[in-house]
């Protein structure tokens, strides 16, 4: 019979619920076809998708998801029923949004409610609830639907009233409402006319009955319409019988009352209508209860129902005490009470036998919840809203999986983007490089074209572009061989160089090999610099040829070219840089004993002891000098310098030892610089130059300095372990006598992942501030109280047995006397071990100023003033004690009690400084004038601001300026010089007092040569002048909010 499956819908037509907006045939067919299939996987998946979208929706219109979900459900489950769960979805949606006022005028929300009303036994209740709550009262649809339902029940007058109300309210779209009203009126009048004219046939029974108000109410008239029972002739009586008696008993609930006014419609002409009922908004506290539930007990007689008395149900029974919502009572309810047949249903909604089942009724529970919320405040300690957001319950695992998937997706996207970007950049750079290289080569030496091509080939090879090296022409052959020989020589150096030969291996045939000529390094500073460079870059195993070539030609190459080279080079070593060093296999490079040394480092504890006991040999000195510039090239690749050093100096035990030394010295600098300019590539670019300068200056400066006892030349870093050890050797009495100084015989306790043992206490590490090769700064709390405290211990572990920080702290205490207060670590213990030392600072707040920088936008003027004031104070004190901190960064300042505990005493300070890794004691190291060797000198602003001749104090001023700038704007300071005055290039856009700040910064920046202590004092007093009477109050307020921000940030 059926030609194709397209007729499926017809077979199920009785089972498809009509929809107001119609159905999509394709979906309908699919749904009907799937019905037979045993699995609904696709449906389940889609449903799951909606459910999770509800939970993880991040846009600003959550109703949209629900709207789509409901529409989809309607279309996909044409039969409705339990499977579709539509009623539950609607209920949940209504519940979710019924407190969101913003949706009250949204037609989608109204639609939701109207659909929900259809699921209820008593839609009229819902409509009047909507009306009272002003939900959708501006929309014509509410009035139309309402009137339609009333009309269907025969309450024409009420329906008219509703439409009138809508017209009065100018509900949108008004024309539709008007036309509907018009049609309604014509319908009513026509039906009335028909009813008057025609003999009653069963279709119009209702109307006819309505038209004859005289009919008496008799029991046997019931069901008259359907059963074709003719009414008795005599219908005279005084009681009016409602028309709609013929309808199903379920609908009876409100039909009886509502049909009464229906009669009045027809009386209207004769009986004047002065008392036209007006719809009064009924005070509904909560949405009406959906009552069209399947498998529910209907209301039974009262005598059989028992009143629930058990205490277990108290949650439900709470509302017994005067429900805070008024009951919906029909106007005609009083009359109806007299009717003996039925009990007024609207009353026993609350008291009916259904009561005990309310626990299953979610909406009822909402009603109760509302009351509960006011009474007891429960705090849900899990993501309840996510578990129960949709209709289905999600397990935590599902939620977690969803979050994970989301993150993974995001990450993948980001990665893809990054890769694309990188690729592009790489391509561009390769292009540039090729061009430049060609240019360089043609400029430097009129090489044949092919040679240039060859060079390009050699150097792009490491980039894995598989460029074919061209040219077998005889003309180029000698060039080629020459180059090969160069490479060969280079390898030779690696292979055959012994410790003794290190200084005197034969120079290569080409200029690049001058690099390795130690003598020239010593003799000629400028040459050695470029030479060092060349070598530094030449040593990377992959990029052997390229850098040496290009470097040699560096003199006539613009500086960008060098940068380009550096950049490309670092890219080639990407794997080394990004890959975890720890997992590098040992035999990756046979020449490379670095890994081995490091492993030995880890495996054998006495190793450090060797380093400490080692007698500095002249050889190692020169080696040190030779290597230090290299290790400065760390930013190029964090790992390579050490390896390089080893590559060159392998095989000799002495060399290895000296190498160890080199390694530590070098990395102390590199870590410092990398800390001061966290991964800023711009900084990296400056590095070689500054180091060059430093090298040039350190020679004469140090040779006459404190390190005189060290023979030979003295390319010493001011804060190298050796030098400090010298300074503190023998331990000053001050140190040894300090009560908190503990000299331990053992080795430094291993820093476990979480716990560290110091003295007799075990501390649980909560946070790591920074880690470098040599030291590590962590926040810890005593292990036995593993609570999340914001105040605890700060432990600094230093891998050299030099208690420098402790020394500085003690010196400060001695020199400052009373001024040594909360700005410093008042309670500091030092544990000196054989191979390192650990400092334990007590009572430090977990947060540093560095934590504040990311939230600088939320900082108020008060807080900044306070912080800057203390910043100036701290530095003033340091300088007064003739200590230069040398490495002022936001991270070194711990927030004091003043900030973290705003309600504490006023004398507490806002900042605390405990770290003195880069500090100089100018009383001890008096002849130092090397601002360029400080970490801050590696930053762009540091380079600009610090001249060679600047006094060391200047370094700290630059640090102050940078911190203030960070606090104000969140980024590092940028300066330019104008009329020999330094100015900050950042637009001081901060509204308040920007004039003040720019003036302040200007004074700090242009303090050239002036004594710092008076200046800082002056500035500080200026700031404290700004603290007026209400300042304290505002400060406390803003500090509280800052504290919250920090805590939130911390937990995130």
């Amino acid at each position: 019979m059926s030609q194709d499956c397209n007729d499926e819908w017809e077979l199920y037509k009785e089972n498809v619920q009509p929809l107001r907006q119609g159905r999509v045939m394709a979906t309908l067919q699919e749904a009907l076809a799937q019905q037979e299939a045993s699995t609904h996987t696709a449906l389940q998946l889609k449903k799951q998708e909606f459910e999770s979208e509800i939970r993880f929706y991040s846009g600003d219109d959550p109703l949209d998801v629900w709207d789509r979900y409901i529409k989809w459900t309607e279309q996909t489950f044409p039969q409705g029923g339990k499977e579709s769960n539509l009623a539950a979805i609607l209920e949940r949606a209504v519940k979710t949004f019924y407190e969101q006022q913003r949706y009250y005028k949204d037609p989608r929300f109204l639609n939701l409610w109207l659909k929900f009303a259809n699921c209820c036994t008593e839609p009229l209740d819902v409509y009047s609830y909507l009306h009272s709550q002003e939900i959708g009262t501006t929309l014509a649809l509410l009035y139309i639907t309402w009137a339609e339902v009333l009309e269907a029940r025969g309450s024409f007058k009420k329906a008219d009233l509703i439409l009138q109300e809508g017209l009065q309210r100018k509900a949108e779209p008004l024309d539709r409402l008007q036309s509907h009203h018009r049609q309604f009126q014509t319908r009513v009048s026509r039906q009335t006319l028909l009813g008057l004219e025609e003999t009653p046939d069963d279709k119009d029974t209702d109307l006819l009955e309505a038209a004859e108000p005289q009919r008496s109410s008799l029991a046997d008239l019931k069901g008259r319409g359907k059963k074709k029972v003719k009414a008795p002739v005599s219908r005279v009586g005084d009681a009016l019988k409602p028309v709609s008696q013929t309808r199903s008993t379920q609908a009876l609930t409100s039909q009886q009352p509502s049909s009464n006014p229906g009669f009045a419609v027809f009386d209207e002409n004769s009986a004047s209508g002065p008392e036209i009922p007006v719809i009064t908004p009924q005070p509904w506290a909560a949405p009406p209860v959906p009552r069209a539930k399947e498998n529910e007990l209907s209301a039974g007689p009262w005598n059989s129902g028992r009143r629930p008395r058990s205490g277990a149900r108290s949650a439900v029974e709470v509302p017994y005490q005067q429900p805070n919502f008024t009951l919906y009572v029909d106007e005609s309810a009083q009359q109806q009470i007299m009717t003996p047949c039925k009990i007024e249903p609207s009353i026993n909604h609350v008291l009916s036998a259904r009561k005990p089942e309310k626990e299953e009724d979610p909406l009822q529970r909402v009603q109760n919840q509302q009351q509960d919320i006011q009474e007891k405040k429960e705090v849900v300690m899990y993501c309840k809203e996510r578990v129960y957001a949709g209709v289905d319950e999600f397990s935590f695992e599902e939620i977690r999986a969803e979050i994970y998937r989301k993150r993974a997706r995001l990450k993948a996207e980001e990665e893809m983007q990054a890769i694309a970007q990188k690729k592009e950049e790489l391509q561009r750079k390769i292009g540039e490089m090729e061009k430049k290289l060609k240019k360089i080569i043609t400029e430097w030496q009129p090489l044949p074209e092919q040679a240039a091509a060859l060079l390009t080939g050699v150097f792009t090879l490491p980039l894995e572009l598989q460029r074919v090296t061209p040219s077998n022409t005889t003309e180029v052959e000698d060039k080629q061989s020459q180059m090969k020989s160069e490479v060969q020589v280079f390898e030779d150096i690696q292979l055959h160089k012994t410790s003794s030969e290190a200084l005197s291996y034969p120079p290569g045939p080409e200029t690049p090999f001058a690099v390795f000529d130690e003598c020239s390094t010593l003799e000629n500073q400028s040459i050695s610099c470029s030479a060092d460079h060349t070598r530094g870059s030449a040593r990377h195993p992959l990029a052997v040829r390229k850098p040496s070539e290009s470097r040699t030609a560096k003199e006539n190459v613009p500086p960008e070219a060098c940068e380009e080279l550096n950049a490309v080079e670092s890219l080639t070593e990407d794997a080394v840089v990004t890959g975890s060093y720890k997992y590098k296999s040992f035999c990756a490079n046979l020449e490379d004993t670095c890994d081995f040394v490091r492993a030995a480092h880890l495996a054998s504890t006495p190793f450090h002891g060797v380093a400490a006991q080692r007698i500095p040999a002249p050889l190692s000195q020169s080696d040190l000098k030779e290597d230090s510039p290299e290790s400065i090239s760390v930013p190029l690749s964090q790992v390579t310098p050490v390896c390089e050093a080893l590559c060159i100096n392998k095989l000799s035990p002495i060399m290895e030892a000296s190498l160890e030394d080199t390694h530590s010295t070098g990395s102390s600098v590199s870590s410092g610089s990398s800390l001061s300019s966290v991964t800023q590539t711009s900084t990296i670019k400056y590095l070689p130059i500054s180091e060059k300068l430093e090298l040039a200056q350190s020679m004469p400066a140090d040779s006459g300095g404190i390190s005189e006892n060290i023979t030979g030349d003295v390319t010493q870093f001011l804060w190298s372990a050796e030098q400090r050890m010298k300074l503190l050797d023998p331990l000053p009495a001050l140190l040894a006598a300090a009560p908190n100084f503990h000299l331990k015989t053992g080795v430094l306790p291993a820093m476990e992942v979480k716990d560290i043992e110091l003295g007799n206490e075990t501390y649980c590490v909560k946070r790591e501030y920074w880690t470098s090769e040599e030291y590590k700064m962590v926040f810890a709390v005593p292990a036995d109280s593993c609570l999340l405290l914001t105040k605890g211990f700060v432990i600094k572990v230093y891998s050299q047995p030099v208690p420098w920080d402790f020394y500085v702290t003690l010196e400060l205490q001695r020199r400052l006397n009373a001024d040594f207060d909360q700005n410093f670590s008042e309670n500091c213990s030092c544990f000196l071990y054989q191979d390192g030392c650990a400092l334990l600072h007590t009572g430090i707040n977990c947060f540093t100023l560095g934590d504040v920088i990311p939230v600088h936008k939320s900082l108020t003027e008060e807080v900044i003033l306070l912080v800057v004031h203390d910043l100036l104070l701290v530095v003033e004190k340091l300088h007064k004690a003739e200590i230069v901190h040398g490495d002022l960064r936001p991270e070194v300042f711990f927030l004091g009690d003043r900030v973290c505990d705003p309600f504490g005493s006023n004398i507490s300070k806002a900042l605390k400084i405990v770290d003195f890794s880069h500090s100089l004691d100018l009383r001890l190291q008096s002849r130092v004038s090397l601002p360029n060797s400080f970490p801050i000198a590696q930053t762009p602003h540091g380079q600009q601001l610090l001249a060679e001749s600047s006094p060391p104090y200047q370094v700290d001023l630059v640090g102050i300026a940078d911190i203030i700038h960070l606090l104000l704007f969140g980024d590092h300071i940028q300066v330019y010089q104008e009329n020999s005055l330094w100015k900050i290039s950042q637009n001081t856009s901060k509204a308040l007092d920007n004039d003040f700040w720019s003036k302040l910064l200007g004074r700090i920046l242009n303090a050239d040569g002036k004594s710092t202590v008076p200046l800082l004092k002056e500035l500080r007093e200026e700031i404290s002048d700004m603290f007026d009477s209400s300042y304290e109050e505002r400060l406390i307020y803003s500090l509280m909010s800052l504290g919250q921000t920090l805590l939130v940030e911390d937990f995130l």
Partner: protein, 206 residues
């Protein structure tokens, strides 16, 4: 022998076919008008046809109008120059076309020259027509509710060379912009084949 004896006069002629199809249109249009609530339901009365209870209008004007159309159709069907009948339901307020019932007619023009009647049992044709009418009734399962008052319009597609009769006018096809189309069943008298289809405005459903 038996086949020949009782069924022979049941053969389908061109005129008979035109009659059947025109009659189908009459009842079909009435059904649509009733089903879609274009006219108030109380203006319809029930009749038995095709083994179904169908509703036909009692409104004299409408009756008259439909009769005219059906008569005209009959004539054109007989001439085999009609291609399509379309019932367009549009909103009175803004003239927007909401539904479009389309009956494509395939005429077997060779029947014009033939004198011998085609052989197809009238009962089978009636069964086919019944299933089409049933489907029209069943479309409420997917058709959207007509929210506004609607009017209907009849379009008849004929061969090009036909002169427009009096009281008829030419018109556009009145398509629905964004429509969902559902094919209904078809029936054939062997001379005329009628394919039915309904198109309705698609909701903004995703």
């Amino acid at each position: 022998m038996a086949r020949r004896g009782s069924r022979e006069q049941q053969g389908i002629t061109l005129r008979g076919s035109a009659e059947i199809v025109a009659e189908f249109f009459s009842y079909g249009i009435n059904s649509i008008l009733y089903q879609r609530g274009i006219y108030p339901p109380e203006t319809f009365t029930r009749v038995q046809k095709y083994g179904l209870t169908l509703l036909v209008t009692t409104d004299p004007e409408l009756k008259n109008y439909l009769n005219n159309v059906v008569e005209q159709m009959k004539e054109w069907l007989y001439k085999c120059i009609v291609q399509r009948l379309v019932v367009v339901i549009s909103s009175i307020d803004n003239n927007e076309v909401l539904e479009r019932w389309q009956f494509d007619i395939e005429c077997d023009k060779t029947a014009k020259d033939e004198s011998a009647p085609r052989e197809k049992s009238q009962k089978i044709i009636q069964d086919e027509i019944r299933s089409v009418i049933r489907q029209i009734t069943a479309t409420v399962t997917f058709l959207p509710l007509l929210e506004t008052a609607c009017a209907f319009d009849l379009l008849i597609y004929t061969d090009k060379d036909l002169a427009v009769p009096e009281k008829w006018e030419e018109s556009g096809p009145q398509f629905i912009a964004n429509s969902e189309e559902v094919r209904l069943r078809s029936f054939t008298t062997t001379i005329h084949k009628v394919n039915s289809m309904v198109a309705y405005k698609k909701d903004s459903f995703p």
